[in-house]
């Protein structure tokens, strides 16, 4: 098993994936599958559908690795694709407004509840890389603490737009706030996340 200090970065893995290195693709899957699957499952709440979306997401990485810009953060691109596929699937599965309201209620309730950021997460032992107590785990805990420190309205606004695909106006109608205030909450929330986000590659190359 590789240790974290010897483990290649996402960019290195992506370059090897472009060269059709299956081993690197396997390592890339092992590194991100749990977070991506958790994100998908959080949105669609259906294991069979989540399985399908997870498979399609990683096969898109394998099939379109060359299309990912060198300036793009690979993990961000991966989560972005997973979120878009999940929201598309969710939109097709929600047949009526009652189901949609139920989804919004669930997202809202989860946003209001305290996050279980301290819950230890055991990665499967058969993976190629030891992720325990590594940067990904630390990054997640930092983001969760930042998110937990936000106001309830801000958490709800960010969650409903990110996990349910709602517009500011729809969120405003749902939580009884003004649309401009929701946009402000979203903008501020993104900025607060910026404080804990790792630096982009171009920022690492050219520090401000």
């Amino acid at each position: 098993m590789l240790t974290q200090d010897r483990y290649p970065t996402d960019e290195q893995l992506l370059n090897r994936i472009i060269q059709r290195d299956l081993r690197s693709f396997e390592m890339f899957y092992d590194k991100h599958a749990e977070v991506v699957y958790g994100l998908i499952l959080h949105i669609v709440q259906d294991h069979a559908l989540a399985d399908e979306i997870l498979q399609e997401t990683f096969l898109q990485v394998w099939g379109q690795a060359e299309s990912i810009s060198h300036e793009t953060e690979v993990a961000a691109w991966l989560y972005h694709v997973a979120r878009q596929r999940s929201l598309d699937a969710l939109r097709w599965t929600l047949r009526n407004s009652q189901q949609r309201t139920s989804l919004q209620d669930r997202i809202c309730q989860q946003a209001r509840s305290p996050l279980t950021t301290n819950t230890p997460y055991d990665f499967p032992s058969q993976l190629l890389v030891d992720f325990t107590d590594k940067s990904l785990q630390n990054q997640r805990q930092t983001v969760c603490k930042t998110f937990q420190a936000m106001s309830e309205d801000q958490r709800v606004s960010l969650s409903l737009t990110y996990f349910a695909g709602m517009t500011a106006q729809e969120i405003a109608n749902y939580v009884n706030l003004s649309a401009n205030w929701v946009k402000t909450l979203i903008t501020d929330g993104i900025e607060r996340l910026n404080a804990v986000a790792p630096a982009l590659r171009q920022e690492q190359k050219e520090p401000a």
Binding site: E34, Y79, A82, Q84, R91, F123, P124, V143, T187, L193
Partner: protein, 365 residues
Amino acid sequence: MTRANETKHQEIEALLPAYVLGALDQEESLLVESYIQQQRDFLAKLEKLDHKASQLAYVTQPVAPPPNIRRSVLMIARLDAPAEAEREISTYTISSAIQPFGYHGNNGHNGGPNGSNGHSANNGHAAEPAVTYAIMPYRPQQTERTAPKVAQVVRQRRLTLRLWQIAAVTALIALLIMAAVGLLLNRQLDRALEQVDLKDGKFDALLATNSQLLVEKEELQKSEQSLLSQNQTISSQQQQLSQQVTQAQHQVQVMTTADSSYQLNTRNGTEAARAGVYVTGNVAALFATGLPLLPSDKTFQLWFVDNSGRSVPVAVFTTQLDETNVWREFSLSRSAGNLQLVAISIEPIGGSVTPSDYILQSEVK
């Protein structure tokens, strides 16, 4: 930059975080996108904002996917590896990123990562030089979800392989069924041949029986013919006997009802020949027995001798070889009247006028 432009720039920039998350409505999105066409520095800002927003993925609890998904993804990737040339390489460009989107159930234009070939319908900047921007804000897809091309290729290959497998299994099953049917037909043919042999034996036996019956039939027909001939013989004999009986009855009646009768014997009375003559009216009946055999040139002749001693020839007659008892009836030209005697002589053929010698004669009255 004028003050008005600077204000607009700030307003648009403030909308970028919500735009990245897809939280703007259609009108605001179009406003941002049209402005991005003019301010290329916004692209880098969008990139950063999307990177920040992606941190929200960590808010969810990581969940280990089923192991079979890992195997499936890796297997499909391995299957796809040789088909590298088929991979569709596409980049997301600013021209596709800022196209007017189908927004929450509108006209269905798509701009997601899966649909990178959209055309700008409003701003006319579709021909702008491509500026790479890998991540686009979320826009709901109005079309059916489709599997990645890699998965489609792999599924097609799997389908082809499965079709071949189904065809092979079907052919194998067909062969097995044909073999089983062949064996069954062979057994039935053997049974039928055995039955045919058995029936042949029975047929041969029946033919033999038939031949025997035909022989028996011929024998029976012969017996029948023999019986018929015997029957005819018996019938003829019966008829003869009947005629003989009738004749005997007639003779008895003639003998018993005759007006006069004469018993004829040999002269010395020692010969076995005897005769009787019965006269009724104009008919004279002769019954004789033990008459001698005559040469071919001789005949018997019956004589009446009247009271004057004159011999009157009555009739001539011959006898057959096997005729032991002789019965003859003769018509008389006139009534016999009283006779002295009645006699039978042997004369030449045709008779004589005068008797030569009597071999039988009655007593003289």
